[in-house]
């Protein structure tokens, strides 16, 4: 009998403030054996995090476990008193949250936080626990395992913090580990390290684990079995091999189809015709926030009707580049030209025509739309502002715009809060399209979206390019998306352009070392990839990996 967790007929309900309860999770049953990794996948809102939390007998505020049994180590933890259930957490079952940066207390040293749970459960005294923690740090490949516990959370990188959080979760040697999107917030290069560390430690300790994610490629690396969820119900369950290669259910097939081919599986493209003259061009741009220089001497050309993809890890200056071109961040040196005209550095000094021709779309659709304005007003304002459309004409054009981004015209009277993430991102795009620009700067527009929704947005961008001849600067850290969509690629690292050229050249050998590092870090949809990468890395001289 080595089943650690069994959940039977689980039903979780939630309610809006002051509202009535509605079911979030319906009739879900699952079980996890010792040493097994079960992955829960699905879009946001599919209830995957909610299910993972119930494994601790916990529901978020405003939610309740309405029905069902949760058997952990042979007892139904929904039947035991809350105090006993509380004692289980961190002892028999522990949890790794999505954002380690938000979960660590910034005022306390890391070591103290890592050993907090076993200390609280009275497992051992502080000094012996610290020794155990150091062993864990070593297993997780953390640098300076003997001293890293003395640092504060802001003194280590995001990937290290995520691994430290795993150390915290493992410090009680729990029987069940819950990992809630632990690598979603990380760059691809960091993700590889963290995945490897997770996989190693789960294997070493023989812990059962629930891995929650929406990234199928990640799942392929770590999971033994996969549970596909949609709208709080189980769609399909099976071994990783089977789900990845022979999905049975239509929804699972859609999910698989939305995954883009890895960059170097791209077919050989036809040699490009002569590049048209650039519509937008940034020359030798240097920008800084105070004394910190973010961009060093960056030059980018956007030919008419083409897509320039900008890739790089977070902190490489991608977003700053877009902001400089839009005039939101002042540049120190260099010029930005639009159709041959040099643009003033500050957005305030630019003419209305220039502003109209170059639109920016922000990453977070949640914050980019004013929550107090109806969609009608959000889309209507640029129409009024740039084109002076009023009354009947304005509302007709709004309906056209909504149709353009595949939204029903009835959405005009809604507030952004009444839309889903993908719908908001479409409105966000429609607002840029309302100006009928020549260039759109897309700053990570698909990063916050689920695979299926993101694929829809990319399709939309493509069709707009083909129909309206719009050019894009498409900023992303997701290489698969860029490889599929962009004509030209700019690879950035620490504020400098390290590689630049047509997509087929950048993504084909011989690679620039940094591009190669990025490429090899994108998880593949097949099992065993992680081990191959690791073997490859160990053979590569380290100076190349460092870039």
């Amino acid at each position: 009998m080595n089943t650690i967790l069994t959940i039977k007929n689980l039903r979780v309900e939630g309610r809006p403030p002051g509202g009535a309860y509605v079911p979030i999770v319906r009739d879900v049953s699952l079980s996890v054996k010792k040493g097994e990794v079960l992955a829960l996948i699905g879009e946001s809102g599919s209830g995957k995090s909610t299910i993972s939390l119930t494994a601790m007998g916990f529901a978020r505020p405003g939610c309740r476990i309405a029905k069902g049994e949760v058997w952990l180590n042979g007892r139904d933890i929904m039947q035991i008193p809350p105090a006993e259930r509380h004692a289980l957490r961190g002892d028999e079952v522990s949890y790794v949250a999505q954002s380690a940066a938000a979960s660590f207390n910034p005022a306390l040293r890391i070591g103290r936080q890592v050993i907090e749970a076993p200390l609280w459960h009275g497992r051992a005294d502080a000094s012996s626990l610290t020794q155990q923690a150091k062993t864990l740090y070593r297993k997780l490949d953390l640098p300076n395992p003997d001293t890293i516990g003395d640092r504060f959370p802001h003194q280590v990188s995001g990937g290290q913090l995520q691994r430290l959080m795993a150390a915290m979760a493992m410090s009680c040697s729990p029987d069940l580990l819950i990992l809630d999107e632990p690598t979603t917030a990380l760059d691809v290069t960091t993700q590889v390290e963290v995945l490897k560390a997770f996989k190693g430690i789960i294997h070493d300790q023989g812990t059962a684990a629930i891995y929650v994610t929406h990234d199928l490629a990640v799942v392929a690396q770590v999971a033994d079995r996969i549970l596909v969820l949609k709208n709080g119900e189980i769609v399909e369950e099976g071994a990783t091999e089977q789900i990845l290669h022979e999905p049975q259910h239509d929804y699972t097939k859609t999910l698989m189809a939305a995954v883009r081919p890895a960059p170097h599986l791209l077919p050989q493209p036809a040699p490009a015709a002569e590049t048209p003259p650039p519509v937008l061009s940034a020359r030798n741009v240097t920008a800084a926030y105070g004394a910190v220089t973010i961009l060093h001497d960056v030059s980018v050309d956007v030919p008419k009707g083409s897509v320039v993809g900008v890739i790089g890890e977070s902190g490489s200056g991608k977003s700053t580049l877009a902001r400089v071109i839009a005039g939101l961040t002042p540049l120190k040196k260099g010029t930005v030209t639009l159709e041959g005209q040099t643009l003033p550095h500050n957005v305030k000094d630019r003419g209305r025509q220039t502003l109209q021709d170059c639109q920016i779309v922000f990453q977070m659709a949640d914050t980019a739309l004013n929550p107090r304005q109806r969609i009608r007003d959000i889309l209507g304002r640029p129409l009024e502002f740039y084109k002076g459309l009023k009354g009947q004409k304005r509302s007709e054009r709004i309906a056209e715009l909504l149709e353009l981004v595949d939204l029903p015209p009835s959405f005009a009277s809604r507030y952004p809060g009444e839309l889903s993430g993908g719908q908001k991102q479409r409105v966000n795009l429609a607002r840029a399209l309302a100006a009928e620009p020549k260039v759109i700067l897309c700053d990570e527009v698909t990063s916050a979206l689920d695979t299926v929704v993101a694929a829809g947005v990319i399709e939309l961008l493509k069709s707009l390019r083909d129909r309206l001849g719009i050019s894009y600067i498409f900023i992303s850290h997701d290489l698969s998306t860029i490889a599929d969509f962009a004509d030209q690629i700019v690879v950035m690292q620490e504020g400098r352009v390290v590689d630049q050229g047509p997509a087929e050249q950048v993504f084909r050998p011989p690679y620039h070392p940094y591009t190669k590092l990025l490429l090899t870090s994108v998880p593949k949809m097949r099992q065993g990839w992680l081990e191959e990468v690791q073997a490859g890395r160990d053979a590569t001289p380290s100076h190349l990996v460092q870039g």
Partner: protein, 291 residues
């Protein structure tokens, strides 16, 4: 490519959508009565504002008037009813002045930033360093005690804290992506302020308005008690407490009744603000207990 189905819009009455808790309902009821009295007071008050109805001063409840008489033999009930109007209207005007100054300067500082922000913030901090009652005493002492001076002084003194709140709100919301998007579109400062920032500050500002209103009632009553606020023969609750405080030793309740009225007004206002704030943040405490 399917998105989530239509969000169903709940068809409920206006009253139930307010999600009033019972504390808020009681507080709202009390406030409504006071406001009603302020409007129709002169027609239903049994006697005039300064009319002496009895030779007996500090008459107990039931003798002379329904609520007794004050130190000059005037009807306490009538003065109370006339006093609502003075107390509420002065407090309202003061709070409006507070907000016009505080919000305008606060948002200006948040948007213009730089030199303007530094200068205004330091001046405001200098004013905040003085105890507000002291500051008001000095100004009123220098300019005399007219209602105009009173309202302006209290309004300006209290606007310092509203300035801090709105400056912080302005800074917070001014860096949101939708404000950046408006800036990238080329919108002017006025549009950004009135259409993008202000609507998103309304909830905290309304809550702040309720609080400031309460404080200004207390502040004005306090000044009246010190003899620097509303002058006799006009009726004001704070003034009534001060006039009749001597009667306490004679067993008269003429000072206690207006004091209780001030308390009912401020407590109700606070309850309403609490309810509003919690409702904006999600669930109210009582709704959670209900669970």
């Amino acid at each position: 490519m399917s998105d989530t189905p239509d969000v169903s819009i709940q068809q409920t009455s206006t009253l139930s959508r307010l999600r009033l808790t019972w504390t808020a309902a009681i507080a709202g009821f009390i406030l409504l009565i006071w406001i009603l009295l302020a409007v129709v007071g002169p027609w239903i008050a049994p006697h005039g504002e300064a009319e002496i109805i009895s030779p007996q001063t500090f008459a107990p409840i039931g003798e002379g008037g329904i609520l007794g008489t004050d130190k000059l033999g005037r009807d306490v009930l009538s003065r109370l009813i006339y006093g609502v109007r003075t107390t509420l209207s002065l407090a309202l005007i003061t709070t409006i002045i507070t907000f016009v100054f505080g919000v305008a300067l606060g948002f200006a500082a948040a948007i213009l930033k730089g030199g303007f922000d530094i200068v205004v913030s330091r001046i405001v901090e200098a004013f905040m360093a003085f105890p507000s009652t002291m500051l008001a005493l000095v100004v009123i002492g220098a300019f005399g005690t007219s209602q105009t001076v009173l309202v302006l002084t209290v309004g300006l003194v209290m606007s310092t804290s509203v300035f801090r709140v709105s400056r912080a709100l302005g800074y917070d919301i001014g860096v949101m992506d939708f404000v950046e998007a408006a800036r990238a579109r080329g919108e002017g400062t006025w549009w950004i302020l009135t259409r993008e920032i202000l609507p998103n500050c309304m909830a905290p500002l309304i809550a702040e308005f309720g609080l400031r209103f309460t404080f200004s009632i207390l502040f004005l009553s306090g000044l009246s008690f010190l003899g620097l606020g509303v002058q006799e023969p006009a009726a004001d609750w704070g003034l009534m407490v001060q006039e009749n405080v001597g009667g306490l030793f004679l067993g008269s309740s003429a000072a206690l009744i207006p004091a209780a009225c001030i308390a009912s007004l401020t407590v109700s206002m606070n309850l309403l603000v609490d309810w509003f704030q919690q409702r904006q943040q999600g669930e109210t405490v009582l709704e959670k207990i209900d669970e």
